[in-house]
């Protein structure tokens, strides 16, 4: 499992690692939605194109998660999967597959309310990309 849940007194977070920056961004998306729901029960029925900007790679990652969370908190769409087609230090393009929340089908675990910058810093060590992200819950 290329991520783990961080135990934080007031909130919750993830520590994610991957072999590539693209992998890191995709994994962070998966981890966030696994905290929210049981991903196994989310079927990809709708697609959404996302284009995200940031001032640097860490800012871009937070903005990416922020946009994904918006699909949930504003539109009630659960993310099934995401494919990142372009990634630089400041720009990202992706296709995201979602399904509208259905209380009969989906379970909700953690109500993530925001993605924070706290302690987030993407680092690359021995070819492994790693970061932590703390969520407001």
């Amino acid at each position: 499992m290329p991520y783990e849940v961080i135990d934080h007194t007031a909130d919750t977070g993830i520590r994610v690692w991957a072999g590539t920056p693209t992998g890191l961004f995709a994994e962070a998306c998966r981890a966030m939605f696994e905290l929210i729901t049981d991903n196994y029960r989310v079927t990809p029925v709708k697609t959404e194109k996302l284009s995200v900007e940031g001032i640097d790679q860490t800012d871009l990652l937070i903005n990416w998660l922020r946009e994904l969370l918006m699909l949930w908190s504003a539109d009630r769409e659960l993310v099934a999967s995401a494919q990142i087609s372009e990634l630089s230090d400041t720009n990202l393009r992706a296709t995201v597959w979602t399904q509208p929340f259905d209380p009969e089908k989906h379970v909700l675990y953690t109500d993530i309310k925001a993605v924070t910058y706290h302690g987030a810093e993407i680092i690359c060590r021995h070819g492994h990309w790693e970061t932590s992200v703390i969520f407001d819950v």
Binding site: V5, D7, H8, T9, A10, D11, T12, I55, T58, D59, N63, R66, M70, S73, A74, R76, F101, L108, Y109, T110, D111, K113, A114, V115, T116, Y117, H118, G119, A120, I134, D136, V137
Partner: protein, 477 residues
């Protein structure tokens, strides 16, 4: 890190580079050790580095690890050279507490208490993604954002006196809906009159102990009488405002030359277009939160009357006070002997104005501002009053609650195999919650002992005990 004990209730981290001021922690021997284990002091030291901070970066006894600013933090910044920080207010702008008292005593509600708790749980929207009873158009919502709870009272959700018993009269000046993003407006439209999830709740309690009869009387609190405590905030709208401005300020803060030790401390000069826009948007979210708690109280009032089959006169519900505990406000304080305008950030801290302060309504002007301190679900909640010591030491601020000691994961682990609802019922507290998960995360052991927190602020003099409320039923989102 060097931490010096100044007296029984106060500790100090001396100023060292790059701090602009020392840091001070209000606490007690019973509470300070648990805080030392966390990253909290480092966060306080980070706050002390921000430009224009005045006197001290302060922490209340319920301090715990947040992101950026610690929760339970108070920091004031000069309005001419200082900064304003969305992270210093928090995501849930004007998360706060409202206390109403009734003319009923415990005996009168006991036979129907379970029905009452069930009806509140059924009729008051709560939980993840809940939507409210009011479907507002964009225009109607923007009126609420600029006018706060008085707007909603005008529409029949309460009495005119309610606004008078609300901090800022339920409406912060300078609220400009134009500064609020469409996304935030969209999220707010569906959520007015909803409790939300997490640590938000409605609690039916009984006035258990009175410590200061004269002040309790001025607040309308009578021994044995039934109370209603509401804890919630500005819901998705406030979160969106915070998120929008954090992102915008993260981009711009580098251009201002301000160095921040943590991205979550992104800030702008108060006197800049970006700083003012945040203040004006934050005021909108604060107004939304006051309107939200106003609608919730009105809904609860109806549930009480219907379930108990009584008239408004028999219920005699009146608002004691409504306080916010996540906010930044421009206030005037006496600093080094002269009056100065500062922007006071309270993140998980409550205003605690002293007797005679012009911001207080007629009912409490002579005694001081009511302060409402909710505890965990099983223990107690407290009513305190503001003091001159708070004006002199903490920019008129005090604690806001118990504060977590256990992570949510640890709480869930500790709750495994136990029936928390049953345990609480044996202690005389009925609980209605949307999920076992919330129950476990919010279990009493996950919080600091609220009595120790209250004793610390009472002992330090930054507020004084007035009454203790004993919970009898709790409804959680």
């Amino acid at each position: 890190m060097e931490i010096n004990k100044i007296n029984d209730y106060l500790w100090e981290i001396p100023q060292s580079r790059p701090m602009n001021v020392p840091a001070r922690i209000y606490s007690s021997d019973a509470l300070i050790e648990a805080v030392k284990k966390e990253e909290t002091f480092k966060q306080l030291v980070n706050v002390a580095q921000l430009p224009g901070i005045v006197k001290y970066a302060m922490a209340m006894p319920d301090i715990h690890w947040g992101y950026g600013f610690p929760i339970g933090g108070v920091a004031a910044f000069e309005t001419e050279n200082g900064v304003i920080s969305p992270g210093g207010v928090g995501y849930d702008i004007n998360c706060g507490v409202r206390l109403a008292a009734t003319g009923l005593n415990e005996k009168e509600i006991r036979p129907k208490l379970a029905d009452l708790a069930t009806a509140i749980y059924r009729d008051i929207p709560s939980g993840v993604g809940s939507t409210g009873p009011l479907k507002l158009t964009e225009k109607q919502l923007k009126k609420v954002l600029s006018q706060g709870s008085p707007r909603i009272i005008d529409q029949g959700y309460g009495d005119a006196a309610d606004a008078d018993h609300t901090e800022e009269g339920g409406c912060m000046a300078n609220a400009d809906p134009g500064a609020v993003s469409n996304r935030a407006v969209e999220r707010g439209r569906r959520q007015l009159g909803t409790l939300g999830s997490g640590n938000h709740f409605m609690e039916i309690g009984v006035v258990d102990t009175i410590y200061d009869p004269a002040v309790a009387d001025a607040f309308g609190l009578r021994p044995g009488h039934v109370t209603l405590l509401i804890h919630t905030g500005s819901r998705g709208l406030g979160h969106q405002v915070c998120d929008d401005f954090l992102a915008a300020m993260t981009k711009k803060v580098h251009q201002t030359g301000i160095r921040i030790p943590d991205r979550q401390l992104a800030c702008m000069p108060i006197n800049s277009a970006g700083g003012r826009a945040y203040y004006n948007a934050m005021a909108c979210a604060a107004n939304f939160a006051w309107a939200n708690r106003q609608v919730l109280m009105h809904l609860a009032r109806d549930v009480f009357m219907e379930t108990l089959d009584i008239s408004p006169r028999e219920l005699a519900m009146h608002l004691v006070y409504d306080v916010c505990h996540n906010i930044a406000k421009i206030e005037t304080h006496v600093i080094d002997g002269r009056q100065r305008e500062v922007c006071v950030h309270r993140k998980g801290a409550t205003r605690a104005f002293a007797p005679g302060h012009p911001a207080l309504n007629r009912a409490c002007r002579d005694v001081g501002q009511p302060i409402l301190i909710p505890g965990d679900m099983g223990t107690a909640s407290y009513v305190l009053v503001g003091t001159q010591e708070a004006m002199d030491q903490t920019f008129g601020s005090t604690c806001h609650g118990a504060g977590r000691v256990m992570s949510r994961k640890a709480a869930k682990k500790a709750a495994k195999g136990r029936s928390l609802a049953q345990e609480l019922e044996q202690q005389g507290v009925l609980v209605r919650a949307s999920g076992k998960g919330t129950m476990a995360e919010e279990m009493p052991e996950a919080y600091k002992n609220v009595t120790e927190v209250v004793e610390a602020v009472h002992g330090s003099g930054i507020s004084r005990k007035v009454a203790k409320l004993r919970p009898v039923a709790v409804v959680k989102g």
